[in-house]
Amino acid sequence: MTGRRLPGDTARMDLSFSKEDEAYRQEVRAWLRKNLPKRETDAEGGELTLDDPRRIANAKAWQRKMYDAGYVATGWPEEYGGHGASILRQSILNEELVLAKAPTLIGMMGIQMLGPTLIRTGTDEQRKRFLPKILTAEELWCQGYSEPGSGSDLASLKTRAELDGDFFVVNGQKVWTSTAQFADWMFCLVRTDPSAPKHKGISYLLIDMKSPGITVRPLVQMTGQAGFNEVFFDNVRVPRKNLVGNLNEGWIVANSTLSFERNMLASTTRTQQLMSDLVRLAGRRTRNGGKALKDPVVRQRLAELEIQVEAMKFHSWKQLSDGIHGRSPGIGASINKLVTTELNHAICAAALDVLGGYGGLAKGAPHVEDRGVWPIDWMFTLGMIIGGGTSQIQKNIIAERGLGMPRSA
């Protein structure tokens, strides 16, 4: 192909936003600046624990406020309480929330995971009953997927649901259930046909957490937070109308939810923020009598991270553009999850290196830096590498679906 070009074609790569989109960004930014809640802290100046009633009340109020301002679930169709916002507008909003360090919405499970599932696969009755309260945080949702015997091999799950007239009777156990200790409802994968091949005997049920027979036991993470739970089901009765999709077709319903989760976990804006926090830290700390940020070895390590962070930033722009212009995402979600979670952990590890002996100090200790957040984030980011599909599972997916390599025996 020679000589057939329009002048200016080479400049078609366009990183600008329309005037309207820019105006939207400024509007969001201004609103956040005015309305961001004050951080409520405990006696040592640290974050309130996840199940502290004050935190839950504040978080619900914050989501309500965001909802009233039109900033919750903007991508949902208008008929279900969203704004039909474009992928671009949703991205702009997400970016501004991260930049402003706004608290994550307490109703995120419902907004990002269950809500879109009900919109796509639920009945009108289910949508009417559940969607409005997801939006206002009046009802909070948790995800009942993993079990002690079914983590990476989720389809092997055993929590049993047997039909008894108009009710399912549920027996079994879920694990790693984040927020179960204060959630009102659970969307849950259960075994409804033990005789079928494992992917074909699963159903997707909505379970009221106040049902008799449910016991929630917090699990403490290595960070010291009771960030997730075990949930036990002892003859729990669930109305048949709480089935989402068809009987024994829950795996298909769940797979769409899982891909939302992978995107949720991988936010490049958060990674950029961690990186800039790291640079600021290195600028404050010293090494061998000078600023850590001037040390050549520190610079090498930080520059390597910075380059990878920037690469992921440009890659997210490419994926955003693909989404806007209808191009296939391919295996992008798995690559994002794999790369971003490991990058976040590596950034925290670099921060601990910069801190040296101070890096191990816990929240509340004398001389602690940044309220002891770095060692905690270093641990938490390792949890993020494991959760939502381990790095090893992501690599299997990338190899099999991205490169067409054969399944392992």
Binding site: M1, T2, W317, K318, K395, A399, M405, P406, A409
Partner: protein, 379 residues
């Protein structure tokens, strides 16, 4: 917001890939690599017919009038095919200097012939220090007569000098170590007392030379642009060179992974394809997870050269550092995925493996560029 290649650029890439699949097969590449001269006049002629030598040259001079991102698209395909051809040295680096530094008369005299492929050029700028800053340019330009300059000294790592008709030589018109006083001289390769000595590297798909000047006489009219004011052109060329090498490395990494995955799907051990073993799958997946974001980084860096001048140098260094590491790692894994035969001369993968390393080491190593990124980030 549209971050990516235009439809035209996608078509350019497809056409280039098809052309090279026919003209620059692994067998052809191997033949040229094993040839003492290291180039094929026939292949270079066919490439010129594609218009690529004139890719960056304005249409008014017979070129295609395209930009650095378009050049990166072609370079990615050339890197994928490992084509031994002077596109990087002449079509990109020397051309960039011409476009940046040449007077109007020099543009009229040279650009059309460069665009048609009638003339090939290369750049001689590095010396034994291999410094990329102005202090690396020491070769003195001695004023012999009012109309003549004489050169005595040497330049290293001059790419494709054996096919170049003319060399653009970076010299010092005024003593000093700073940017002030650096000049560019056009020196035809057949000028008396100019001697080329091959610098064989482990990568036989691209040839580099030492060029010695033994009191070589050059007319003053051969100064490219203003005397003593040429550093800024070289600095810009350096950023473009970083992007160009990174683009080759992106294509090479993609091809190396493809070859390894293809092999892993058919090679059987223990009664099954080795590609079904997780260890092998994970090596492939890690390579893939490296090369997808690196492509986006490359596109940004290429586009930034013309569209975001403030970020051009930083972006160029990011791309050079990252692609240097990515291609080397991907090629290393690719050799290992081939097992024993990956280590042989007879199998093709070693050619990509060696280009990966030489690309990593040329125009600044990843370590060197990371420090530059730190500086340009204001740290």
């Amino acid at each position: 917001m549209d971050f990516g290649l235009t439809d035209d650029q996608r078509l350019l890439a497809e056409a280039a890939r098809q052309f090279l699949a026919g003209e620059s097969t692994p067998q052809a590449v191997r033949r040229i690599a094993e040839d003492p001269q290291g180039f094929s006049p026939e292949l270079n002629r066919r490439i010129a017919e594609q218009g690529w030598p004139g890719l960056l040259i304005p249409e008014a001079y017979g070129g295609l009038g395209l930009g650095i991102l378009d050049a990166a698209v072609i370079l990615t395909e050339l890197g994928r095919a490992l084509t031994p051809a002077p596109f990087l040295s002449s079509g990109v680096l020397a051309t960039t200097l011409f476009l940046s530094a040449a007077t109007a008369a020099q543009r009229r005299a040279w650009l059309p012939r460069l665009a048609s492929g009638e003339v090939t050029a290369t750049v001689a700028w590095l010396e034994d220090s291999e410094r990329f800053d102005p202090a690396g340019i020491k070769l003195p330009a001695r004023k012999a007569r009012s109309d003549q300059i004489r050169l005595s000294g040497a330049k290293l790592f001059v790419l494709d000098a054996q096919v170049a008709d003319v060399l653009i030589v970076a010299v010092r018109s005024k003593r000093g170590v700073g940017p002030d006083g650096v000049s560019l001289l056009l020196v035809p390769r057949d000028t008396p007392n100019l001697e080329l000595t091959p610098l064989p590297t482990i990568d036989r798909t691209r040839r580099a030379y030492e060029v010695r000047f033994d009191d070589v006489a050059v007319p003053r009219s051969h100064l490219l642009g203003g005397e003593g004011k040429a550093w800024k052109h070289l600095a810009r060329m350096f950023d473009v060179a970083c992007v160009a090498i990174a683009a080759e490395s992106q294509g090479g990494a993609e091809r190396a992974l493809e070859m390894a995955v293809e092999y892993a799907k058919v090679r059987e051990q223990f009664g099954r394809a080795i590609g079904s073993f997780q260890a092998v799958k994970h090596m492939a997946a890690e390579s893939f997870a490296d090369i997808e974001p690196s492509r986006s980084l490359l596109w940004y860096a290429a586009w930034a050269q013309q569209a975001i001048p403030k970020d051009a140098s930083r972006a160029a260094s990011m791309a050079k550092a990252r692609l240097g590491d990515v291609y080397s790692r991907v090629a290393n894994r690719a050799v290992q995925m081939h097992g024993g035969i990956g280590f042989t001369w007879e199998h093709d993968i070693h050619f990509w493996f060696k280009r990966a390393k030489v690309n990593e080491l040329s125009f600044g190593t990843p370590t060197w560029h990371r420090e530059r990124v730190a500086q340009l980030s204001g740290w």
